[in-house]
């Protein structure tokens, strides 16, 4: 990747550097450093807010006044397909404080429930794919060779596929369930993490302190976990959060376009937005069924992005030897 690859053979073992002293303390130090960062803090607050909302009904079941499974908004929130066509405006009573949307559903509680589904989907995808990507990327980055080549080919392959097109197609025409779609997306997503981890692992591997550790006789696995892992952490964590936002955007897009009958009435932010532009509303000034869930979605993508971008900045404080080129 980098043109300095050819000089790898020339690098000599040097005396232990400042970084050797730092290595054991890197993991905690990087967390400390990132917290001192406005972007990371505000991002963390916002993300935590959404996480809490998502988990709330596990702590207080039924707090939203639902009955039955939450995955069908019509039944859970007492809506109906043949609801009168006048949409409840903002400032309604009780749960209708943020207004109502199609099918007579109240916006606020459905939105809060929607966070749960959006988060569930994206957390599933990101956790699964990032773990796979982490393992494969670490291995490929550190050992190189055939595994590395395979990883590069696979990730290039996946990067060339229009994911939305695929997601749309498979989910609608083949009737994928929510869970099926999540799995399919995880399969498509892991190379993104794999590439990030692999690149960072390679550059860290080249750093002198790892060479010194190898000289001291540690086995490769020990080296991997003790030295490389903490250095990769900030980059990796940053990408995890940013991808959370991107995956949520994916599922919201698929739902907005009403492409999977299985989750048509599921509380989900994209779905809610599609209710907000349904034909009965066209040509009127009823903006809140569209805008309010939209802003709520934006809040989430903004929060995770700030958190991810803030974490990326902590990388600057890593080591000084490597930066002086």
């Amino acid at each position: 990747m980098s043109y300095t690859d050819k000089s790898e053979g020339e690098e000599r073992l040097e005396a232990p550097t400042v970084t050797m002293v730092l290595r054991s303390r890197q993991a905690t130090k990087s967390v400390k450093v990132s917290l001192a960062n406005v972007s990371a803090i505000s991002g963390a607050v916002i993300t935590a807010f959404y996480l809490v909302i998502g988990l709330l009904d596990m702590v207080f079941p039924g707090y939203l006044g639902t009955s039955g499974s939450m995955s069908n908004a019509l039944t859970a929130f007492h809506g109906s397909l043949s609801s009168p066509s006048n949409i409840v405006s903002l400032g309604g009573s009780g749960w209708y404080i943020l207004g109502g949307t199609l099918y007579g559903l109240p916006i606020l509680p459905v939105m809060l429930a929607a966070v749960k589904f959006d988060l569930a989907f994206s957390l599933f995808v990101v956790v699964v794919s990032s773990l796979i990507g982490l393992v494969v990327g670490l291995y490929a980055g550190f050992f190189g060779g055939i595994i590395d080549r395979i990883l590069t080919e696979i990730s290039n392959f996946f990067l060339q596929i229009p994911l939305i097109g695929l997601a749309i197609m498979v989910s609608y025409l083949l009737g994928f369930s929510f869970f099926d779609l999540a799995i399919a997306t995880s399969i498509a997503w892991w190379p993104i993490f794999g590439v990030i981890v692999r690149n960072k692992a390679r550059s860290v591997k080249r750093a002198t302190f790892v060479a010194s550790a190898m000289a001291s006789g540690d086995t490769p696995t020990k080296i991997t976990f003790r030295h490389i892992f903490p250095s990769i952490l900030p980059d990796f964590a940053a990408s995890v959060f940013i991808e959370l936002g991107i995956v949520v955007q994916l599922i919201a897009t698929v739902d907005f376009l009403n492409l999977d009958p299985a989750f048509r009435y599921m509380p989900e932010l994209g779905n809610m937005m599609s209710w907000g532009v349904s034909s009965t509303l066209l040509g009127t000034l009823t903006w809140w069924p569209l805008v309010i869930p939209g802003l709520f979605l934006l809040g989430f993508t903004l929060g995770v992005f700030l958190l991810g971008a803030g974490l990326k900045r902590s990388i600057r404080y890593k080591t000084w030897r490597n930066d002086q080129r």
């Binding site: 097109g165 025409l173 991107i246």
Partner: protein, 335 residues
């Protein structure tokens, strides 16, 4: 010598990709048959698509159909074009997509280059901050959301423009691009409606494509800024325009080139979403409508055309890279 070997490699890759595409679409067809055989049979209109053979032999019929243009028909509930052949539907919609794509790229690339230059100063300046913000906005705002908001507030509220598509016939002839056809026929109402229909999709495409491309361009420039050779350019006292042009921009562009397949994929994804939301009757919209109406062949072949576009752009950019980029060494398949 090295070049011809590399070019051979790229041809080989393109062929493999084509094969993979065909296999995937075929697998999809098989699943579609499994879930809804009657619909599939209907849409093949009884043509010999090998539907009575076993799966393995059927594949060859499928490939033959792909290359002979026997692409089946769209479902009867497909708006206005119900029952038309898939080839015709794609033929009607492809020009609009190409038109939108071409003009978006033409506008985006200078934007990317201009904003990229903002990274050349040593310290964070307003241009750099602005470029970073541009990228951040592109990542935070989902494209469908911006499109939906725009469409709702611009058209539905009737405050600004009434829905432009209402003023146009479903298809214009001969090029199927309203602006151009309007000009050809001297029908300025058609031409201006054509422009109105085109504006919002263009803005959306330009913003999101350029934001994405800027990400890649920026990473190229930052890679260059971190390398020793930039430091040596400074210590040799080279004038700034040389540093910006030959060290930063060149690296940014080569990075962009290197990732053209990814860029094309993202742009086509944006295209599909934008067309679907804004009812812009291009291939993405045709794809969307195929999905909604359950036109299996429509979906398959629309995706096929998109896939071909990606494979060709990947192939071409690979060839160009081999011929011009000194860093594209022989070893890497994808560069």
């Amino acid at each position: 010598m090295k070049s011809s070997l590399n070019i051979g490699k790229r041809v080989f890759i393109a062929v493999i990709e084509l094969l993979a595409l065909l296999i995937f679409l075929y697998a999809f067809l098989l699943s579609a048959e499994y879930t809804n055989r009657s619909m599939v049979l209907l849409q093949s209109a009884g043509t010999s698509m090998g539907l009575n053979q076993n799966s393995f032999a059927q594949f060859f019929y499928f490939v033959k159909d792909v290359f002979t243009g026997n692409w089946g028909y769209v479902a009867s509930n497909y708006p206005t074009l119900g029952g038309f052949s898939v080839m015709a539907v794609i033929g009607f919609s492809l020009p609009q997509t190409i038109f939108l794509l071409a003009i978006s790229l033409l506008v985006s690339v200078p934007i990317v280059i201009l904003m990229g230059i903002g990274y050349s100063r040593r310290v964070n300046t307003t241009t750099r901050a602005a470029s970073n913000l541009y990228i951040a906005l592109g990542m935070v705002f989902p494209i469908f959301l911006v499109g939906a908001f725009l469409r709702f507030f611009l058209y539905n509220t009737s405050l600004i423009i009434s829905e432009p598509t209402k003023n146009l016939p479903y298809w214009t002839f001969p090029t199927h691009i309203p602006v151009i056809d309007g000009l050809i026929h001297g029908n300025y109402a058609m031409a201006s409606s054509g422009i109105l229909v085109f504006i919002i999709p263009l803005l959306l495409m330009v913003f999101f494509s350029s934001s994405f491309m800027l990400q890649i361009y920026r990473s190229g420039i930052l890679k260059s800024l971190n390398q020793g050779y930039l430091g040596s350019a400074s210590s040799l006292g080279l004038p700034r325009w040389i540093v910006v042009r030959n060290y930063l921009m060149i690296k940014g562009s080569s990075e962009l080139f290197r990732y053209i397949p990814t860029v094309m994929t993202s742009i086509l994804t944006f295209e599909i979403v934008v067309e679907a939301i804004m009812t812009y009757r291009g291939l993405g919209w045709a794809f969307y409508e195929s999905i909604i109406t359950g036109s299996y062949f429509g979906a398959i072949f629309a995706l096929f055309v998109f896939g071909i576009v990606i494979i060709i752009s990947s192939f071409l950019s690979g060839i160009i890279r081999i011929l011009t980029d000194p860093e594209a060494s022989g070893g890497e398949l994808y560069g």
